[in-house]
């Protein structure tokens, strides 16, 4: 069996105004990447983008993106990412830049890294809180994202509902 290998880049989108973040869509990001690669590497780079490239996941609240590149040329494409200065969505240009946090061979490793990264960030946030209310909220959030019994049950329930659907 031949496996088609790829590299997954976990990137953060940094914007000046966080509200703009919510406007992002996966299509707009992929379009921005493609145009930038074309600008930097010319037609060759644009063509490389057309084969194995896709936006695997986008969370508009946190600004995390999974980008998939073919393993053969991911370095080349990656080198174009810093040149993204703005993303155009819904007729608006959002000034931003991409910050690559992690490079993984599978989505799974990226996800694992993301978990670690997010929890780390939350923990970092905790001492910087200004009032008690915020502190409480962040504590709650940290508790939520660790593996607890409640989460497990939710998982099982979900499994059952899936089975029902199959029937």
């Amino acid at each position: 069996m031949v496996r088609l290998k790829a590299r997954y880049l976990l990137c953060e989108i940094n914007v000046s105004d966080r509200n703009h973040l919510l406007r992002l869509t996966d299509t707009s990001i992929s379009a921005a990447v493609k145009t930038t690669v074309a600008r930097i590497h010319g037609d060759y780079g644009r063509a490389l983008c057309s084969i194995g490239f896709s936006v695997k996941y986008l969370n508009a609240h946190t600004g995390t993106v999974f980008l998939r590149f073919p393993k053969r040329c991911y370095k080349l494409l990656w080198s174009a990412l810093p040149f993204i200065t703005s993303i155009e969505t819904h007729g608006q240009t959002i000034p931003c830049f991409l910050n690559c946090v992690h490079v993984g061979g599978t989505i799974r490793t990226c996800q694992k890294f993301l978990i670690r990264y997010n929890t780390q960030q939350l923990r970092r946030m905790l001492p910087k809180c200004k009032n008690e209310e915020e502190k409480q909220q962040i504590r709650k959030a940290i508790l939520n994202c660790s593996l607890t019994q409640g989460n497990k049950e939710a998982y099982d329930d979900e499994l059952e509902s899936e089975e029902d659907e199959e029937e």
Partner: protein, 976 residues
């Protein structure tokens, strides 16, 4: 991908908000604890819908409308919650197996165990719960499926009662004959005309069956023929029935011999007053002999099941019997009960009806087993009990009874059929008085006298040499013993008794004393006299009477039949095993009717070939007589043998050779569909290209078009001749050929409303038959009818004005080599060839294929069969191809490669030889020793051909198979 987090982004259009809510776009976790609504401290209505699942495509130009949906500010709490939600979804995605395979596959290789899914304890603990759940689910599904398809064990299914139920269920759709099971084990069964009939045996016996027909005896079950009983005053019956027949087409219902009840007759019925158009079909009929000079008569009309649906309403209208007698609800008749009082109005369906009730009841409480046991269906199991079978007329007093499946009819074909009958049947013996019908009759001296006379005649019957020697249609009534009692232990071949008698006589002459011999000779002379009497005059009227005519006796006999089981029990109690039951059981007397079936009646050679006897029995006794008959060494034939029988007999076979009857039309349509289906099942490259062979309608014979075209041709010829007679240039015969060469009639020109008819007028047929017979022909007697007027144009014209639209049924025999040499007188006996035609539809078909990839294979076109061959006339000059003219016909709805699309061009002039008609069935005839075919020819075409032929070659035509290009010479025979 399963279990992967989906994108979290705002929808591109606000309209989708509502619909997206239930998806809980924020990955499955949102449903659990955290919930997406808690992520933002914003108003909830904004929050929750905005988590849209799936990819959002498309660009929204009016991006401004989003601003009001967007949160205005952000807090640390919201930030943290968003992170937390993401983490939990990722956690879930990471923990869950993404592959679509089962639990088993999620384990690493070294942890897999044998039979893991069977024994869930072999799973690691953490997976055990899930495995258990999966296992239960699969078990449930299995049990559900099993319940649906649960079947009784074979043993239970084959138990007698259950088997009967099953048989009764299967009989609901198509009626089974009484010999069905016997046939189904040995025959290819077909479902035809609402019955299950044996088509042909599974073993090879084509020639043995023919040999049986010509030397010994062939047996067929014809119980599917429908019997309709008419009762009423003789003159009224005759008056109403005479509307449906015509004297021109042969003897009718009123023929003297038939009406006395001594002979069975056959007629072709027409719709009342419509002769010669709208025929219904051929039927045979049988009058009951007069009882004590009363004028109340009984008539049985035996018809093919396909005629019945047309015939019955016609008979009702003719006899004005519109009043259906509602069948009374009859209480159960116990078998021992006797109904000696004749009740003409009693439902014949009593017993089956009661049985049906039983059956349904049984079905309902089959588990209680309280219901009476299921009974075998006798008679028509398909009919619902409320259908009326009796109609009575108030004005004429005629009663019509539908006796379908009430009487079993077996046909024995062959010269030895009488000896088979004589060996199987044994005249009823006297017995002690009892309540059964036969003992009652034994008390009556006159009835016993009649019985003795009938037995005498039956004994004489054994001595005749061949079944064909008797006058055709002879009827003999008889009462016989149960033939199961005399069943031989082994299958034997019934031999004629005549030879045995002579042999014994010879021996006696040699060995014994002189006086004894004289006595014997004297005896045999008396027998001889009686036999001659029988052969010349037939059975006297008195002996044609049978108790089979009486419904009460019929029902009595059916009800009181000893079951096979009972009979076997009685046999086992006999002291000497294998000996005959000494006191014949009282119930074993059956009234029967023997009807002689005529053999070949037309033509000069093989006279009375295929004659035989029909055996009529009360229902229920079918198998009791069938097995003993089979044990006498007869062959059994199916439907295809009856077709061959009538073909060899040179008589038209019912649905095939009656294209003008409604049943014949239906048959043609069925055959067309069947043959087209068969044609389409071949790959296109392997199909015969009928267009190239010049065969317009290979699966069907467009008789109507043929008749119309020939009518047009003759009409034009007549006009031409009129013109010519003024100019005085050519002879009539020349003009006819000229006309045929020049006129390419367009089908759309004339559409006469009249339908074609088959010529059945005896006088006209005789005339035609005389005309088409060459005067000097080897091995043929001179025409029986001496005064055939010579064929000339005036006679032809007068004949054609009468029968312009008619077809005539002809027999064609291929000419042998010597005949051909005589015909041509030259060294070259090669037959003409048809030039290959061009397929003009090829290009169109290709274009269509290119345009749309779909082939018009699903089209249900009505191009079908015709075992047909073209019959272009021999001496016609070649006609120029006329195809160019008609290739520009309208766009056909469907094109099948190798078949002409629907509006057919002119048929007569399509080939290089003029088409006269088509063959409906043709084969190598074992009786004639050459190829023979039966078909129809347009009368107009035949006469114009005959006019153009020289005297010595008259009646020679060309015959061509639809799949070949070469013509063959054939001789035409019209036999009356």
């Amino acid at each position: 991908m399963r279990n992967q987090p989906v994108n979290i982004q705002y929808p591109s259009s606000p309209l989708t908000e509502e619909s997206s809510t239930q998806n809980g776009g924020d990955t499955p976790v949102t449903g659990g604890g955290g919930g997406p609504s808690n992520i933002h401290p914003l108003p909830e209505k904004l929050n929750s819908p905005h988590h849209k699942g799936g990819w959002v495509r498309g660009h929204q130009k009016d991006g401004g409308s989003y601003d009001k949906l967007m949160p205005k500010y952000i807090t640390a709490g919201a930030f943290a919650r968003a992170r937390a939600a993401e983490v939990s979804t990722m956690l879930k995605a990471v923990r869950k197996v993404t592959s679509s395979c089962q639990l088993f596959a999620s384990l690493p290789n070294h942890m897999r165990r044998r039979a893991m899914s069977h024994n869930t304890k072999r799973y690691p603990r953490r997976l055990r719960d899930m495995a258990n759940r999966l296992r239960e689910k699969s078990l449930q599904a299995c049990s559900k499926k099993k319940e649906q398809t649960k079947r009784q064990s074979r043993k239970a299914r084959r138990r007698h009662g259950n088997l009967l139920l099953e048989f009764n269920r299967r009989q609901r759709k198509n009626v089974w004959l009484e010999t069905h099971i016997w046939h189904a084990k040995r025959f290819h069964m077909v479902k035809k005309w609402g019955y299950c009939l044996g088509d042909r045996p599974t073993y090879k016996c084509y020639r043995p069956c023919y040999r049986a027909m010509s030397n010994h005896c062939l047996l067929q079950d014809l119980s599917y023929y429908c019997c309709i009983e008419l009762q009423g005053e003789e003159d009224k019956l005759l008056a109403s029935l005479s509307q449906m027949t015509s004297k021109e087409a042969g003897p009718t219902f009123a023929a003297a011999l038939c009406i006395s009840g001594r002979r069975q007759g056959s007629v072709v019925l027409y719709r009342a007053g419509h002769y010669p158009s709208q025929p219904l079909g051929p039927v045979t009929f049988l009058w009951r002999p007069r009882v004590h000079g009363s004028t109340h008569r009984q008539l049985w009309i035996w018809a093919h099941p396909t005629i019945k649906q047309d015939l019955l309403p016609e008979l009702q209208s003719v006899c004005q019997c519109c009043e259906a007698v509602v069948p009374p609800v009859v209480p159960l008749v116990t078998p021992a009960e006797v109904i000696p009082t004749p009740e003409p109005e009693r439902r014949p369906e009593n017993t089956p009806e009661a049985m049906q009730i039983h059956r349904t009841k049984r079905k309902r409480n089959c588990k209680d087993a309280s219901g009476p046991p299921a009974k075998k269906i006798l008679g028509d199991g398909k009919r619902s009990p409320s259908t009326p079978v009796t109609w009575r007329s108030n004005s004429t007093g005629i009663v019509i009874n539908d006796l379908t499946m009430e009487i079993v009819r077996y046909r024995l074909i062959g010269p030895q059929s009488h000896s088979v009958l004589a060996e199987t049947l044994e005249a009823a013996t006297d017995c002690d008085p009892s309540t059964l019908w036969w003992p009652e009759h034994c008390k009556d001296e006159s009835k016993m006298n009649l019985h003795r006379q009938q037995v005498d005649i039956f004994n004489i019957l054994k001595d005749i040499y061949s079944s064909g020697e008797l006058p055709s249609g002879t009827v003999l009534g008889l009462t016989v013993d149960d033939p199961r009692l005399t069943l031989p232990t082994k299958r034997v071949k019934a031999l004629p008794c005549v030879k045995q008698l002579h042999m014994s006589l010879m021996l006696m002459l040699v060995i014994q004393a002189h006086a004894m011999c004289l006595c014997c000779v004297f005896l045999s002379e008396v027998d001889e006299e009686k036999r001659r009497e029988l052969m010349l005059r037939g059975v006297p009227e008195l002996c044609c009477q049978s108790f089979l005519w009486e419904r009460s006796i019929r029902d009595n006999v059916t009800d009181n039949k000893i079951s096979e089981q009972e009979l076997n029990r009685m046999r086992s109690e006999v002291l000497v095993p294998g000996s005959r039951l000494s006191p014949t059981p009282l119930q074993g007397r059956v009234p029967i009717l023997l009807v002689h079936q005529p053999g070949k009646q037309v033509g000069h050679e093989m006279n009375s070939w295929g004659a035989g006897w029909d055996l009529l029995l009360p229902k229920g006794w079918g198998m009791a007589f069938w097995v003993p008959l089979v044990y006498r060494g007869v062959r059994i034939g199916g439907l295809n043998m009856s077709l061959k029988h009538s073909q060899n007999k040179a008589s038209p076979h019912f649905p095939h050779d009656y294209p003008d009857c409604p049943a014949g039309i239906r048959f043609q349509e069925e055959q067309e569909a069947e043959l087209l289906d068969k044609f389409k099942r071949r790959p296109p490259a392997k199909r015969t290209n009928y267009i190239k062979h010049g065969c317009l309608a290979p699966f069907r014979c467009p008789w109507q078009q043929l008749a119309e075209e020939w009518e047009l041709i003759t009409r034009e010829g007549r006009e031409e001749r009129k013109r010519d007679s003024q100019t005085q240039t050519k002879t009539g015969a020349d003009t006819v050929t000229e006309v045929e060469m020049t006129s390419h009639p367009d089908i759309t020109v004339t559409k006469p409303p009249s339908r074609f008819a088959v010529l059945r007028n005896r006088k006209s047929l005789r005339l035609l038959s005389g005309w088409c017979r060459p005067t000097t022909s080897k091995g043929q007697r001179p025409c029986r009818v001496g005064e055939v007027p010579p064929l000339d144009s005036s006679a032809a014209t007068s004949f054609l004005t009468e029968h312009g639209m008619s077809l005539v049924w002809v027999r064609l025999s291929l000419l042998s080599k010597e005949d051909l040499r005589l015909l041509s007188n030259k060294s070259d006996c090669s037959s003409p060839q048809e030039p290959p035609h061009k397929n003009h539809f090829n290009s169109r078909l290709k274009c269509r294929k290119k345009g749309s990839k779909k082939l018009a294979t699903t089209s249900s076109s009505d191009k079908t069969e015709g075992s047909g061959s073209d019959l272009p006339s021999a001496s016609e000059p070649n006609l120029t191809s006329v195809e160019d003219a008609k290739s520009s016909s309208e766009t056909p709805t469907d094109l099948i490669f190798g078949l002409w699309p629907d509006p057919l061009p002119s048929i007569t002039s399509h080939c290089s030889r003029v088409t006269l008609g088509w063959v409906t069935q043709g084969d190598f005839s074992l009786s004639a020793g050459c190829g023979e075919a039966l078909g129809f020819i347009s009368v107009a075409g035949l006469i114009s051909t005959l006019l153009n032929q020289p005297m010595e070659h008259r009646g020679t035509l060309l015959l061509r198979n639809p799949t070949s290009l070469s013509y063959r010479f054939a001789k035409i025979n019209i036999e009356v």
